[in-house]
Amino acid sequence: MSSTTNPSTHHTSTIGAIGAPSRRNTELALLVFAVVIPVFAYANVGLALNDQVPPGLLGYGLGLGLLAGVGHLVVRKFAPYADPLLLPLATLLNGLGLVVIWRLDQSERLQVRSTFVEAAPRQLLYSALGVALFVGVLLLLKDHRVLQRYTYISMFAALVLLLLPLVPGLGADVFGAKIWIKIPGLGTIQPGEFAKIVIAVFFAGYLMVKRDALALASRRFMGLYLPRGRDLGPILMVWAMSILILVFETDLGTSLLFFGMFVVMLYVATERTSWIVFGLLMSAAGAVGVASFEPHVQQRVQAWLDPMGEYLKSKQGVVGHSEQSMEALWAFGSGGVLGTGLGQGNSDLIGFAANSDFILATFGEELGLAGVMAILLIYGLIVERGVRTALAARDPFGKLLAVGLSGAFALQVFVVAGGVMNLIPLTGMTLPFVAYGGSSVIANWALIGILIRISDTARRPAPSPAPNPDAEMTQVVRP
């Protein structure tokens, strides 16, 4: 279980922590790129659209640089041994997202829509809030194991967050999915994004305590370890919760995300493949079961199988259909390998949610296959750095939390990017850091903060060995 007691894993980074360099300067150098690349992209958009460098370039560059700088200084001071890649990668995605959101703000097609607002300034504000939360996490959370104490409070908090959109008068139904809450004066919040982190804390704390029982008390059947009936309780509960989210909030993505995260963490905690099998069977049964009576889900599946038919129905004005999926596919196709160049595509034809759920399509059209692959690889890198953090962590809680957060991040990217590219049915979710949306940006910065905290703890040099008692004179402690 613990890596330090298992000689077979010594060749990996788990042991390399001792005396490891802090890599803070590497992080700083990478951050320079993470700021400069979006600044160039920003200038690129302005030149393509108006033949001039956008007047906001300096402010934008300084803003992003300031955020990155603050993040870096705080990491240098409070998490000096943290993974050096996470902060630059998140900054780069955040910066590119801001550029593309600004680019879509300039679209005349989107400007005439009744719901149009200038999204880029708001997103910059959200990013600042996100980095503030990131700083807050690093300042206040000196050791991630503290979170263990809040296992059951986390469960309660997660349930409240997930149920909030269902409260009458608070929830907001936006185009079929009920995952938003409206706070007068503040706008809408997507509590699911925060619940993702809180629930990972609960799963990690719970599984750390129960994993022996879940792993050992089992019967062997056809090569699989079958858990005892009563041990099925927790997974059944999470499953039921996911189904409820799906039915009452009609949100396929969140539902899949929570259940997937739980199965991943359960598997890591127990090392039993049988849980994966159970998880897959249960999610398949749940999805098929809900799809049999939930028209919203059925319609999404239909749109997935036949995006062109969906497009035509929408064009004919049939209520409840959307041409967005097909428009997104055309955006990808029209981008080709190298893309049209920033500011020169027509991805704004997607219309509603072009800068949030469908933002990847703009990357696809304007930066092409090359750009999208780069973005996907950046996400892959963040996830793999997260899993590596889990590998390096020395405590089971930290391992579980890190893999839970990384796994949820990976699932979210897969669900939303796969949906936009029509690989899987579309679900209303945001692409982390890139898509327009305050809740998403803020919550994901907190997620990166926690991962950085865990990796700092993991890579921190082991405390110097306790002084040899024989070397010193025995001290007499008087009562």
């Binding site: 090392e271 596919l329 055309w330 990808f332």
Partner: protein, 490 residues
């Protein structure tokens, strides 16, 4: 705990890999298909992103482009004298797509054609905007004007061909429409103008290109084809010799008498006399005697039963396949199920005028790159030889008699030899509806060359059967068109 962690790492890697594979599928494998999908609005945006190339007649463009505001399409098509030229150009509308030349040569006009790829790439490197090429037509502005104005308020069509090359000189259809009125995509003006032109709203169907896409019973003008069949098959050798033609003539295997128009001297009339006064009995008997196969063979040599691509498609004219003897006789005088487009009948006249050789009709002389370099030049092409030179000259001689002192006197042009044939086609059950007036003819200059062959059809002319006969209504239009061409040659 590390073993499952590694597996999770691999699992997450596979998720990303799946996305990468899917992305390659979309943006590489399927990219062209998605990009060129007709429903993809980018296709239309690109089409209207720069001024469209022009369609050119006699060195002058008959089209243009205008900058538009308030839409993602930058330019729209404009037309000069759109009503007159619509049967040639077709239309290119932001809202309703393109047809005919505008559609067929769209690649050249937008500059997207593969043959322009190299120039386009050069332009991209030098920073020049993409531009469209031009389509230079074979049409004659004078002939087209004569045809369009000759038709006037009447419903009908004109097709004129240069017999020696097959170049189309005039292609008019009335009532016509102005494609400028719906070239944009405004729901206010363009959609309304479009709706008004549809057959539902407008029973005259102004958007029908009658010269190419409407087939009419050719009536007596088809007797030229029957005469050609008689000469080619040796049934008649001397056009001035008496034929064995009884009057009254009863259709074979029936008791139905085939009648002539009025009391005309058709008994045993020679081919010349029979064509001059348009004897149904003589040509009906020739058709019945030759039989349907020989008649069909000759008709198909003239182009019947197949579509023509000029490159704009013309409907196939019909000479029926399955019929008995009396039906063959009727078909041979241009009735029963025989039907022809004006272009087809112009081809008949042009083959006779060109000493029996039918040239493939075409209306695009050349395609030009934006720099005016010629990308493609159409070479005249022989399509078939429905008549020997000898027989063609015999037929010319009797067609000239028709204009000299037969039914087609109103097509005469001083100083020019004109050969022609009138036609009055029945229409509707038992001739209940107004007939079609036909006239086909050619003009021959003193040097023996023939610069123009023309076919005119006028629908629903006057109520009086005699007056409508091709000689009265259609021949003057044909005369004007031929005169316009002849005058422009001199």
């Amino acid at each position: 705990m590390n073993k499952p962690l590694r597996r999770i790492a691999i699992f997450c890697g596979l998720l990303v890999l799946a996305l990468l594979v899917r992305d390659n599928w979309l943006q590489y494998v399927m990219a062209t298909e998605l990009k060129e999908d007709k429903a993809n609005r980018r296709v239309a945006i690109e089409r209207y992103a720069q001024p469209r190339g022009d369609i050119i007649v006699d060195g002058k463009s008959i089209t243009g482009s205008a900058k538009t505001e308030g839409s993602d399409f930058d330019y729209k098509r404009t037309y000069k004298n759109g009503e007159m030229w619509a049967p040639v150009t077709g239309y290119a509308s932001q809202a309703f797509g393109a047809t005919q030349l505008e559609s067929i040569e769209d690649g050249i006009l937008t500059g997207n054609d593969d043959r322009l790829f190299f120039r386009r790439t050069l332009d991209m490197i030098t920073g020049k905007k993409q531009a469209g090429g031009n389509v230079v037509t074979t049409l004659s502005a004078a002939a087209q004007k004569a045809a369009f104005e000759g038709l006037g308020d009447k419903k009908g069509a004109v097709a004129a061909i240069d017999p020696s090359t097959g170049a189309i000189l005039a292609l008019a259809s009335t009532p016509s429409y102005d494609p400028s009125t719906f070239a944009g995509n405004s729901t206010e003006t363009d959609s309304k103008a479009w709706a008004k032109l549809q057959k539902k709203e407008n029973p005259d169907d102004p958007m029908l290109n009658r010269a190419l896409r409407e087939t009419y019973p050719p009536g007596s003008t088809f007797k030229v084809v029957t005469a050609a069949a008689a000469l080619e098959n040796g049934l008649v050798d001397d056009v001035d010799a008496k034929t064995d033609s009884p009057l009254p003539y009863t259709l074979p295997d029936t008791r139905t008498e085939l009648k002539n128009e009025g009391n005309i001297p058709c008994k045993d009339a020679s081919l010349r006399d029979a064509l001059k006064v348009s004897c149904n009995t003589v040509f009906g008997k020739i058709g019945a005697d030759l039989g349907k196969d020989k008649m069909k063979e000759e008709a198909e040599k003239f182009g019947f039963n197949s579509e023509q691509f000029t490159p704009v498609r013309s409907n196939a004219s019909v000479f029926p396949d399955e019929m008995d003897k009396p039906q063959t006789a009727l078909s041979s005088i241009g009735q029963f199920e025989t039907a022809a487009t004006p272009l087809q009948m112009a081809m008949v006249a042009s083959a006779v005028a060109n000493d029996g050789t039918l040239m493939k009709p075409y209306m695009v002389d050349k395609l030009q790159a934006p720099s005016l370099d010629v990308i493609e030049q159409t070479e005249p092409e022989e399509m078939s030889k429905p008549l020997s030179e000898d027989n063609a000259q015999k037929l010319q001689s009797i067609m000239e008699t028709v204009v000299q002192d037969g039914t087609g006197t109103r097509a005469q042009i001083p100083g020019v030899t004109v050969g022609g044939k009138t036609g009055t086609a029945q229409h509707g059950v038992d001739n209940s509806e107004k007939p079609y007036a036909w006239f086909i003819s050619y003009a021959k200059l003193k040097d023996g060359s023939s610069p123009v062959a023309v076919a005119v059809v006028v629908e629903d002319g006057s109520a009086n059967r005699d007056d409508i006969s091709g000689g009265g209504l259609a021949a003057p239009i044909a005369q004007a068109v031929m005169k316009a061409v002849v005058d422009s040659k001199q």
